[in-house]
Amino acid sequence: MSVDSRRNGRAALAFHTLFMIFLLAPLVVVILVAFTPEGYLSYPTHGFSLRWFREILARPDFIKAFYQSLNLGLVSATLATVLSIPAALALARFRFTGREFLNGLFLSPLMIPHIVLGVAFLRFFSQIGIGGTFASLVFAHVVIIMPYTLRLVLAAVMGLDRETERAAISLGASPWTGFRRITLPQILPGVAGGWMLAFITSFDELTMTVFVASPGNTTLPVKMYNYIEQTIDPLLASVSTVIIVLTVAFMLVLDRFYGLDRVLSGKG
């Protein structure tokens, strides 16, 4: 490895190598096991087979859960972004009564454990009679992902130069045109970064969703969790491999687009 050996000593590189192995080992093992030709979990695997990937296609319940996760992620990330943009504009540009309260309210889901949100939503949705519906999943997901979209959109709005928009409006553009033609294009990277972080957070969410999902409306993580509770076989490994590959592709796009460290420092 051509890492900077002048500054990182031998001990540091040894530590680094072990750390990388620690991080990657569970993912690599999952991928290796997925290619087993055996009917049970075994490794090191003797031989190579796509048998368990074909098995996924024979499981409509997994396919359905995958599409439901995808839909849920798309709808809730979009809704969260649409709610975040005006809220971020107001929070960044106006000083008004209740501003601090609203800011705290919108970020509060970061402080509340997902398990608590899960039981709270379970009670609420079943009381108002929409328990287990797709709409209830969307509502719950928007609440937990909006802090992410709001933070990134807010950061984008704060870094904005307002002069061009003011100029446009003073030249007779309506505020809406000013927003659409001047402000929105400028904050678009932040909006897109927030949307993507929100999407992947929704797509992965288990703890809260496990309480809100129903057999008819389930997500892929919940489906996998329930399956693990029953049995662990190579099918889980092949489904996981598909998730890993898709996530890595998504991650590379996100990194190109916005910078992974910038996006994720907003995740804590």
């Binding site: 900077d4 500054r7 990182n8 530590f15 750390f19 990388m20 620690f22 991080l23 569970p26 993912l27 093992v29 999952v30 979990l41 709610l83 005006p86 809220a87 504009l89 107001a90 540009r93 106006f94 000083r95 008004f96 601090e100 609203l102 800011n103 919108f106 509060s108 402080m111 509340i112 454990p113 997902h114 398990i115 608590v116 949100l117 039981v119 939503f121 609420f124 009381q127 928007v142 609440v143 992965d204 288990l206 496990v210 993580p221 996998m224 969790y225 693990i228 662990i232 490994a237 998730i243 890993i244 996530t247 890595v248 998504f250 996100l254 990194d255 994720l264 420092s265 995740k267 804590g268």
Partner: protein, 307 residues
């Protein structure tokens, strides 16, 4: 916190000079949809859970709306729950310490790397945060489970008996997997502080004759301490309420707070008791986060005052 004060300062500066009555309503129109959404969909569920935690539960009659404190006296004074809460916070503490010991040096090592390796290693470190926790935990089940690689490895070294061994359903197993899930948060948190550090201060100390380890301890570490402290808080708070990993690796034999909430709701169906456990968890979480932040703030104000 600092983010918020910065925002309000910016907001103050960019305050519109026009003070017409219609303009004053603009921020309320803009935040209105999100505010209504949150008050209804976050406020109501939490409030209803708070109320639910005072309801009475009977195994034959189910939930009745008679108010009682017995759920809370159960959670707060029963040895069974003490054990679960103690175990949860013990796991959180050990996980946090491991993340500090592993994550902080790793962030520093990656930070000192040259161009292509630096971003590649950062990507490898942070990437797992985006991969489903179920997938990552499954990986650990395969590694540390009954016939897992770790067991085979130890057998090959002659360290384990012929029957092999498993870390499933043990606290060690849960901690290992939790560290794997959460250590990226420490790296990113320390990384954020490192970006503000002037590494030439270290060079200066070196050139003045300090040993490399002394430089690390006296020059670099104090500068990244804020990152270590905020990373620790995130990790501690997340571990204390984590569900997926303790549930899959710890199972029913090693209950933590989150899995006991799950069991009360979905197995025992004693929702009021489950609700009171989650309210206690929520309150503890908020108290820990608040008092820790206050402690850190005070500490740094004092240090800065002395400096």
């Amino acid at each position: 916190m600092s983010e918020m004060t910065l925002e309000s300062r910016m907001a103050g500066r960019s305050r519109p000079s026009v003070r017409s009555r219609s303009l004053a309503w603009i921020p309320f129109w803009l935040t209105g949809p999100a505010a209504v959404f949150f008050l209804v969909l976050l406020g109501m569920p939490l409030l209803m859970t708070l109320v639910l935690s005072f309801y009475t539960f009977d195994y034959t009659a189910g939930i009745s709306e008679t108010l009682t404190l017995s759920n809370y006296t159960d959670v707060l004074f029963d040895g069974y729950f003490h054990e679960i809460f103690l175990r949860t916070y013990e796991i959180s503490l050990i996980t946090t310490l491991c993340c500090v010991v592993l994550g902080a040096p790793e962030a520093y090592i990656i930070y000192r790397m040259r161009r292509p390796w630096r971003s590649i290693c950062l990507l490898i470190t942070l990437g797992p945060l985006l991969i489903s926790v179920v997938v990552r935990t499954l990986g650990w089940v395969l590694l540390i489970g009954g016939n897992g690689l770790l067991s085979q490895f130890m057998q090959a070294l002659g360290l384990a008996g012929t029957r092999g061994f498993s870390l499933m359903y043990t606290q060690t197993g849960v901690v290992i997997a939790m560290v794997h899930v959460l250590v990226p948060f420490m790296v990113i948190s320390v990384w954020a502080s490192l970006r503000k550090v002037d590494l030439s201060t270290g060079d200066a100390a070196l050139s003045l004759g300090a040993k490399p380890f002394t430089v690390l301890r006296r020059v670099i570490f104090p500068q990244v301490l804020p990152g270590v402290l905020s990373g620790s808080l995130i990790i501690f708070a997340l571990t204390a309420s984590y569900f997926a990993t303790p549930s899959i690796i710890g199972g029913r034999r090693l209950k933590v707070v989150a899995t006991s909430v799950y069991d009360e709701y979905l197995s025992t169906m004693n929702w009021p008791l489950g609700a009171s456990i989650s309210i206690v968890l929520l309150v503890l979480n908020v108290v820990i986060v608040m008092s820790y932040s206050r402690w850190v703030e005070r500490r740094f104000r004092r240090t800065l005052g002395e400096g």
